[in-house]
Symmetry: C2
Subunit: 177 residues, 2 copies
């Protein structure tokens, strides 16, 4: 991958994006998490080139997001399953799906429903504060440098969000960031 080594950047979005910011990875994870785990099934379902699928899968295995498992001895057959790390990508998929539903849904409605087995209802995912349970939005959060943040040139981690919003660059100069 000749891509700029985003993994070096001190931003978790960048690190996650280095793996996940790919046209296919999200779709592969969706499929694997929903039970489409075999190479040919994935290739057929996604319409992805087999070459690229093989590359993505081995990358995902390397990253510890998937494991390649033998599911049958005779003839030997392998498939891919999500690790714990892989399953934790589920919120990302949910958020992506929710956004797609809100902004690109058919007039008929969303193509899929999510049933929460805990309460038995069809539901939508909401990103909330782990402490108080209120939904997190751009407007009610600020990013501050964390312990692992090495703030320096090229490592803009997550700037002063509200500062920028409270002083919109419309009139004067944009907030220096």
């Amino acid at each position: 991958m000749t891509r700029t080594p985003l993994a070096d950047v001190a931003c978790s979005i960048a690190r996650a994006t280095d793996l996940f910011g790919d046209a296919w990875t999200a779709l592969i994870m969706r499929d694997v998490l929903t039970g489409v785990t075999r190479f040919d099934d994935l290739a057929h379902d996604l319409g992805i080139s087999r070459k690229v699928l093989a590359a993505r899968l081995s990358r995902l295995v390397e990253e510890g997001v998937l494991i390649r498992e033998r599911y049958q001895e005779r003839p030997p057959r392998e498939h891919y399953r999500a690790t714990h790390k892989g399953e934790e990508l589920y919120p990302v998929l949910l958020a992506l799906m929710e956004w797609g539903d809100r902004w690109y849904a058919d007039p008929a409605g969303p193509p899929a429903r999510i049933r929460h087995l805990g309460c038995g209802r069809d539901t939508r995912p909401v990103s909330v504060c782990a402490h108080c349970g209120e939904p997190l939005t751009v407007a009610n959060t600020t990013q501050l440098p964390g312990p692992g943040g090495r703030t320096g040139p090229g490592t803009q981690v997550l700037g002063p969000l509200l500062a920028a919003r409270e002083d919109p660059p419309g009139a004067g100069r944009p907030a220096a960031v």
Copy 2:
């Protein structure tokens, strides 16, 4: 974009991924939402090629995720700001960041903290059921075809998740991860 027209697929993840499944889009949105809104600032901060940045920005404007605004008349200067549609990508970014923090954080800790202004605490985003507030996980949800779902070949929307997990394709079922 010669990419397979994922937007046609009846899956919201695919639609969202068509726009968002790109090495740079997530980082651009992070920057714009955190106050880095000018072309040169983005180019410098991300280390992205100016050509690609211009292409991404106009795509994002086309999609209604960003707007190009004049922030200064003399000399005329433009910058980019998130629309409502763009701000609603925030949960996706949060989920990505959270995942990156959990799995790739420096030993020192995450590079950024999120302060929830509502309750005043540093927090983590959690994806919960809109009805009962419980966290949504792979294990406690199922996907069902929705009203807009045209189930057919190549349009595997979101399969029967738990069905697949309860009856994996192998003889001996792999240990639940």
